[in-house]
């Protein structure tokens, strides 16, 4: 198999001179992109468990307000009779959102899979800047520690929600919140360092014969994601500095004159605007949503292609559409601000741009769907997650049309309709893709595969229960159930809906418990999983020509690419390399 791609010069000659690194060099302070990818993966898995647990406690409080939390109550809420307090609830809201976006979604999709896959997908030995790559992880880890340490040591709470809207995020004194701002700044820095490294690597280090149109969709998606990260994240960094100054140095970037907080006149000089933060935050925040979904599209495209034995349908159209989604993502931010007092005519402009995104998104989804046409589908665990992604992401995408339509958004804004919408995108979409990608690339990462039986159990439980958890939230939202309230039973109009909240909570508990199947499978398989050879799924992309797991330097010989990423015929008959071959190769570019 491997010699199909390996007619080139021996690679990794300089690596041969290295002494074998010790434990610390190999697993801790490594500059190997595969190790760094795994470090990102384990760190964000840890945060996934923490943020997931926060969601469980939140669900308990919503179904049974102010009742002692079973199990965790005596540990976390000693001072409030083992029940969640109002402060505890705003902390949970903020922690769940901010951790999931900044410490789970982005590092998992980009840090873990981007790192692990990009050099392998393009036939490179490592990233262009291995040291900066390691720095990016260490910044991320330090950020994680800073974020957690203030809360653990009781240096105040964080409660303004993951969007950190001022004035609330400015006027609430809390050292922990200051630390969070520093932490998010470092996460942003880590993203920027990663992004320019990825871009440089993809642009300059592709193996001979690997033209742009032979890149797997996953790598294309990482490429667009890197552009977004590089362009949007500096905005977040700048905004965070301003917010930090407002909190500690008495500036008023986001504060108007004459505020009166809890009966005390604010000493802020004023002249700023809370809306400035919303513009800055969402100019980063909306593209950040596409940082989550674009890599997910990429994984799913590769998975669907491999397990239906079909090249991705409309590969080029799909790549162009992914690029369009990334570009349009920069001009829709104000749809988060339809009710903020924006001029309604401005709202109309942002509404039409928002709705425009649905067109390239629809092209991507339909290309993924048609990839299955005339395929020979093998129902492996990654494939089930691929199918699950397709069926669930659609709900998230279509409900976006309700919210993008400004007039309809007005009653739905900040209700559970929005919560349901973006959880169908990030749970039904992004997390399904993360699971699928984990099952899919696990053999390459660890040389063993995860249990298929447990994997499928995990899929079906998650698939059914996520609908039980998130679909009823649409009904709650329509019914006027606002977000981020600690006690829905406070409202007479929400009392009839309370049994739905209870139902969601029980479903969420079962869903949360079923994730333990994944965690168990993941760790059990590292040591006990079935050993695999180089290409257990019979995929045609480059990473599967390397050993499982690939050694330092990845490929024994520098790969030479003669066909597109989904040319499955080449696996059976190495002379058959013309299928899915882009036209330029015929003219001799390879």
């Amino acid at each position: 198999m491997s010699d199909l791609h390996s007619h080139g010069q021996p690679a990794g000659a300089e690596h041969a001179n290295h002494a074998e690194p010790g434990f610390f060099g190999k697993y801790i302070f490594s500059t190997d992109h595969k190790t760094i990818g795994k470090q990102f993966m384990f760190t964000s898995l840890f945060f996934l468990l923490v943020a997931g647990l926060a969601a469980m406690v939140m669900r308990w409080q919503l179904a049974f307000p102010w009742k002692p939390v079973p199990g965790l109550g005596p540990v976390l809420y000693k001072t409030s009779q083992n029940a969640v307090s109002a402060e505890g609830y705003t902390l949970l809201v903020t922690l769940h959102g901010a951790l999931m976006v900044f410490f789970v979604g982005i590092p998992m999709l980009v840090g873990a899979f981007g790192n692990f896959l990009i050099p392998l997908h393009i036939g490179a030995k490592d990233m262009a800047f291995p040291f900066i790559n390691a720095l990016s992880y260490w910044l991320f880890l330090v950020a994680g520690v800073i974020a957690v340490v203030g809360l653990v040591l009781g240096m105040g709470s964080i409660g303004p929600g993951w969007t950190f809207y001022p004035p609330l995020s400015v006027v609430t004194p809390s050292v922990a919140l200051n630390l969070w701002i520093v932490s998010l700044f470092l996460v942003g820095l880590s993203s920027i360092l990663g992004a320019f490294n990825y871009l440089t690597t993809i642009v300059t280090m592709r193996a001979p014969g690997l033209t742009w149109w032979r890149l797997p969709v996953t790598t294309w998606a990482q490429c667009f994601t890197a552009v977004i990260q590089l362009t949007a994240t500096p905005l977040l960094g700048a905004a965070l500095i301003l917010l930090f100054m407002d909190r500690v140095a008495g500036t008023s970037f986001f504060l108007p004159k004459g505020l009166e907080i809890s009966g005390k006149a604010s000493t802020a000089s004023g002249g700023g605007s809370p809306l400035l933060w919303q513009h800055l935050f969402w100019f980063y925040g909306h593209p950040a949503v596409y940082v989550l979904i674009l890599p997910a599209f990429g994984f799913i495209a590769d998975i669907l292609a491999v397990f239906s034995r079909r090249p991705v349908f409309g590969y080029k159209a799909m790549v162009v559409s992914l690029g369009s989604v990334a570009a349009l993502g920069f001009v829709v931010w104000a749809h988060h601000m339809f009710v903020s007092g924006l001029n309604p005519f401005m709202g109309m402009a942002f509404a039409v741009l928002t709705l425009a995104i649905s067109i390239p998104s629809a092209v991507v989804v339909l290309c993924l769907l048609i990839t299955l046409f005339r395929g020979a589908i093998r129902f492996t665990t990654p494939m089930w997650f691929g199918i699950g992604f397709l069926s669930m992401f659609v709900i998230g995408g279509l409900t976006g049309i309700f919210l993008g339509t400004a007039a309809v958004d007005i009653p739905l804004h900040d209700t559970y309709f929005v919560v349901a919408h973006f959880h169908y995108v990030v749970f039904g979409g992004v997390l399904m893709a993360i699971f699928g990608a984990t099952y899919f690339w696990y053999p390459k990462m660890f040389g063993r595969r995860m249990s298929e039986r447990l994997g499928k159990t995990h899929f079906f439980m998650t698939f059914i229960l996520l609908n039980a958890v998130f679909f009823p939230m649409f009904i709650l939202g329509n019914g006027g159930h606002i977000r981020r309230i600690a006690d829905p039973t406070f409202y007479d109009s929400l009392k009839p809906l309370q049994p739905i909240n209870v139902f969601i909570t029980w479903a969420a508990f079962v869903m949360g418990a079923s994730q333990l199947v994944f965690v168990g499978n993941f760790f059990w398989s590292i040591w006990r999983g079935e050993k695999v050879d180089r290409n257990p799924w019979q995929s045609a992309t480059l990473e599967w020509t390397a050993a499982s797991p690939p050694p330092h330097g990845n490929f024994e010989m520098e790969p030479r690419v003669t066909h597109g990423p989904y040319c499955f015929k080449s696996l059976l008959d190495p002379t058959q390399t013309t299928c899915c071959q882009p036209r330029e190769v015929v003219h001799g570019r390879a």
Partner: protein, 268 residues
């Protein structure tokens, strides 16, 4: 209202109107109609897509040993390409339609902004965690001694446009009237406006009191966010006049808040 004992009861109750509470405004039906319109379009798209997906998954499952297929789709590929193009075109047309309708609703709302003498004007001051209301009193002017103030209870006339001018004392709040399909953030430093018209009066409960609708704060505003509730009652001009007269006794016009309406432009 009776509380259903099971989730199924709650689902059934909520499902009757997709969960929406009763609409008591004169404009809310437009929003509801547009919601239903989008639900129809997206519903068709959803069912079609899932049907195709299930069909493909069943039809193209690998049968014993068939692990590879011919590389090119040939004509079928072109047809599917055309299908995607057709879907994109349909999206442009249908979404263009919803966008036009949404914009028309918003433009009409702007054009219809009541700035004449007919409008019933109220000032709203949001603070952690309550809603203050201020009525101009008999002289029709704000910032005078006969202003009527209240906390947590907004009373408006039926069938007459109500204009709210809103300020916030401290942090972001959001004035949300589920039964009127209205929501407006209250941003410190800005004067945000909202207008609506009640289509029917509030009912009178068994205890002789008017049954109010709820006003919620939709923007996280601190620890007491979930308690930031107020009520709105729509009633006849006579009942309202009587209420304002009674409320004058309890109000504190010297309480130093409010602003000169002539300073702000009437239209947002």
């Amino acid at each position: 209202m009776s509380v259903p004992m099971t989730p199924w009861g709650a689902f059934a109750l909520a499902g009757l109107r997709m969960g929406f509470p009763e609409d008591v405004s004169t404009n809310g039906w437009k929003v509801d109609a547009l919601f239903e319109h989008i639900l129809l379009i997206t519903g068709v798209a959803f069912v079609a897509l899932e049907a195709i997906l299930i069909f493909f998954v069943v039809k193209y499952r690998a049968k014993n040993g068939a692990t590879t297929v011919e590389p090119s789709l040939g004509k079928a590929g072109i047809l599917w390409g055309g299908f995607i193009g057709a879907v994109a075109l349909t999206l442009i047309v249908t979404e263009g339609g919803t966008w036009l309708e949404s914009s028309r609703i918003q433009r009409d709302k702007q054009a219809g902004f009541p700035d004449g003498p007919d409008a019933f004007r109220v000032e709203v001051l949001a603070e952690q965690f309550m809603w203050n209301f201020r009525y101009p009193g008999p002289d029709g002017k704000f910032q005078t001694d006969d202003d009527v103030t209240s906390v947590g209870m907004l009373r408006v006339p039926v069938g007459r446009p109500v204009v709210l001018q809103m300020h916030s004392k401290d942090v972001l709040h959001s004035f949300y009237l589920p039964n009127f399909r209205e929501k407006q953030d209250v941003v410190p430093g800005l004067t945000n406006k909202l207008w609506f018209k009640a289509a029917r009066p509030s009912l009178t409960g068994a205890d002789g009191k008017k049954v109010p609708w709820e006003i919620m704060c939709a923007e996280l505003c601190g620890l007491g966010h979930y308690t930031m509730r107020a009520f709105v009652v729509a009633e006849s001009e006579e009942d309202l006049a009587k209420y304002l007269k009674d409320q004058a006794e309890y109000s504190n016009p010297d309480d130093n808040w409010g602003w000169d309406w002539s300073l702000g432009k009437e239209r947002r």
